[in-house]
Amino acid sequence: MKIVLYLHMHQPWRLARFRYLDLGSGRSYFDVDRNLGIFRGIAERCYRPTLDRLLRALETHPDFRLSLSVTGTFVEQAKVAAPDVLDRIRALVRTGRVALLAETYYHSLAFLVPPPELAEEVALHRAMLRSEFGGEPKVLRMTELAYSDDLARFAEAERFHGMLAEGWERMLRGNPPTYRYCAVSAPTVMLLLRHYPLSDDVGFRFSSREWSEFPLTSEKYARWLASTPGELIGLFMDFETFGEHHSAATGILEFLSALPDAVAKEPGLGWATVDEAIVGPPRDTLSVPYTMSWADQNRDLGAWLGNDLQRSAFEAVKKVGVVVRQSRDPTILTDWRKLLTSDHFYYMYVSGHGADQGVHDYFSSYDSPYDAYANYMNALSDLRRRALERLGVPILK
């Protein structure tokens, strides 16, 4: 049984307050200082200590392996706010036992807008990985672990050998999530699935005192891993799980440090990168005719496009995309792509009740989803105005 540990590193360009009265003012949509400030804080609490621990684990445990995805917006911010974080990632990659994954440069919903946006963003991200870290990714992960038959076809066309997806019962139809599968729509694309109960034990439940298994030790967790039947266990989670979602005071960093040791003590348990895990015959084909994600109770896109605000904002950004492309202005295109980052839509989530709302509030950078929507629409209206100006179209109003 191989553990496929995969950690996701991302920070969005959050918007500044862009008032309706700021339309046409030439002000930036993005509060660079605030974003960098947030980045520095997380670097201190999470990125540095966790990357250091992972490097030590790689040095002391020749069997230990992991995989990382790093978004373009993360790298842009790290370059200014904490360049040493990038050095630490490079040191990990140099061990040869850390695989990097491909994705959209902007952690965006590009897969829902008309081509060629998705292909271009994945190409941008590939180029960034090459120049920053060296190497070619073999496996693609889509924003928020989105997956569908169509996306598998895209991955095949882009010559990826694997994709990640949620190990969700509804599409597994009785199959266990602990094997590699292939897409029914693209048989050369291997699918690695997230074992969500075991991933969420660490990602969500680790610091919860109401959890009957609290406190979770690395020995206990390794025993759970060892007793899980199958070939592969996909432990996919946010990198910020370690030191940020769960603060250092919860003992999460010690848990991570001790895990390779605890795993080594369990016979038959080992590690694999995503590049290693996709090698071998698939157990079966899987079909997902809708778009699945790793979020919330429904594992759909409801967290980003579930309500009227989100759908309205997304329709608007799609529409603006048409004039943005026509404008052929790289600055305008870049701003538009930053607005396509999925986080902006997540901030517009409204539920008011249920287990998911707490998670959403935690991640939001606004007082309310209404603030998020209004601010986003102002920025988008301004962008549209700029694109139209570029095209020489007179602005009514």
Binding site: Y20, L21, L309, V350, S368, P369, Y373, A374, N378
Partner: protein, 403 residues
Amino acid sequence: MQRPARIGATVRRVAAPRPLRIVMVGWEWPPNHTGGLGVHSFEIGRELTRLGHRIEFLTPFQGPFTPVPGVTFRFPGEARATSPPEFPPAYWTGGTPDSPFVDSIDGYNAWIGQLTDLGPVDVIHVHDWFGTVGAAALARRLGVPLVMTVHSTEYDRSLGHPWDHIVGREQVGIDAAVRVIAVSRHLRQQLIDRYHADPDKVRVIYNAVRPSQRLERIDPKKRVVLYVGRLAAMKGVDTFLRAAARLVPTFPDVLFVIAGEGPEYSRLLHLAASLDIGDHVMFLGHVTDEERELLLAGSSVFVLPSVVEPFGIAALEAMAAGVPTIVSKTSGVAEISSGAFQVDFWDAEEFASRIAELLEYPTLRAAMGEQGRWEALREGWPERARETVGVYLEAIASRGRAI
């Protein structure tokens, strides 16, 4: 989404083991009322009697009183035929209280203090400063616990230039009460900071609105941005006008409506003229409840820009009517409405931007309208009455009394 109330501020909703006999030391009672206090007394009184409790409502005014089963009305000179005191009192419309007003307040308090024919009483509950001296004396003489509800403080009403005489009466009530009810956490903190109230005895019970029939939206050619409330300095209506002035060039079709009367009226009228937006602003003066509901049904946005606002029931009424609402951050209503935009009271630019966003984005207007309605109506006066009973029981228990 609701911010958690601080520990010590919240009240449990409990049922009393038997009907309580409550002496409520009030001020106004419908149908004659100028402010929110009369409505509050009426709604909370009605719900308390529905729970089986009995109220003797003391008021300086002679009526008429909208009858509520279980509520008996007592007023000075009830046995004799005297002319009723002036209504509304000069204080409300004229600005500072003058000595005849103080005399009549003193008369009211003296009358309360010497009331004898009350029968058994479980708790005395006084609202604001008007009757605190009498209520404290009565509570002391009868040996029953005193509860005080503070709806606003003299510091707030006077924008930091309080009349010491009134502050003193507020202090008497806060000191003598074994439990104090504040209508928001913001106000609770003020009672602790300014009046040195013991934090352990101050509870928060928010106001509520009655669900009104949702009127069909009126869809006039002109879009309406509405303010409803008194025209007093603490209400920050000049911010509303300054925001309007920012928007008129971009939204020439929008009408800014100000409903209410008060001492600031002529100053605001001049301000509108000097901002050159006279054609886009309409001062309606006093409106009836019915007129207000019609106004809300025809409005796109409601704005409550108060500098100081212990609660702000007008905003809750707008939300209950499904009108997207913008409130100042310091208002008490902001504490329970995540579906309203919250703006710093001094930031006319931000008020203007928020109004523009609501006018421009129909999806936002609809979503905030729905959320606001849900937030305003998910709890009502029945819940508030049960919380009030919870405070009564705490007050009675704190006096070592069995029930």
